[in-house]
Subunit: 133 residues, 2 copies
Amino acid sequence: MNPSDDIPAFGPGERITEAEYAVMEALWDRPRQTAAEVCEEVCAARGWSLATVKTLLSRLVQKGALASEPDGRRFLYTPLFAREAYVGGESRRLVERLFGGSAASLVAHLAETEALTANDLDDIEALLKELRP
Amino acid sequence: MNPSDDIPAFGPGERITEAEYAVMEALWDRPRQTAAEVCEEVCAARGWSLATVKTLLSRLVQKGALASEPDGRRFLYTPLFAREAYVGGESRRLVERLFGGSAASLVAHLAETEALTANDLDDIEALLKELRP
DNA sequence: GCGCAAGGTTTACATCTGTAATCGATGTGA
DNA sequence: TCACATCGATTACAGATGTAAACCTTGCGC
């Protein structure tokens, strides 16, 4: 059994796509927004139309990623799981898939390919100290 | 400029899918294999037929991810970029997308969500010491 | 020589994704 | 009250992906 099997990023099997993620971000930033409001936040940046946002919102509700709460004749959408849960799931998925489950390998890789700046290293060091007094 | 800009995971735009990745893995493990050989390595594990492997190999050659070298009447396939390049690209992509480009944030997140075992922490600590004597 | 096995190539086809347009109901200002 | 603006829901459609079957060529054993 896989060490990451018990903390799914999200409902088992249900995955969030890139486009959907953009919508989720807007709602993690500020929950309970209408389709139009979400569009204001993302349409310009991604060159989307309101229709596209509506579609994505629907799909996310179907997937159980968003709750839609009726407010008059429209809906307010709210994420059903925290950004952290998603981010954590995706991270673990990557570590699992590409580094055989070893997070240390990931860090090693980032360090070796110089994806880690001196500053990053400082931060990580501080973090370690904090984690184990 | 990003320190990682010079090691593209792969030709820009060209992405490798999950299924294709399985095939790449087999060939990273041992390059210059035939379709049948690759199938021996992955078909059982993924429940694929040889036909599926053939399709994936073709697509990978088209994408420029694999070279096919004729060997008699069949082909030997070989990755055109190292696993490290791919893994690095995917890692950076994730860090970029989910952690605003800060690798340290990723590590912090893994640590906070206890995705890092005590052992991982040891490894990382050792790594840090090694990176900055 | 001939049919079969093995190879690659072509075609297939259902889903998933990205990106909308259209439809039908409804609230609203004139 | 009536046209219009809004909303969510339904439908659309192309390209990517997963998964293969069908097809065509060719070397090989009989």
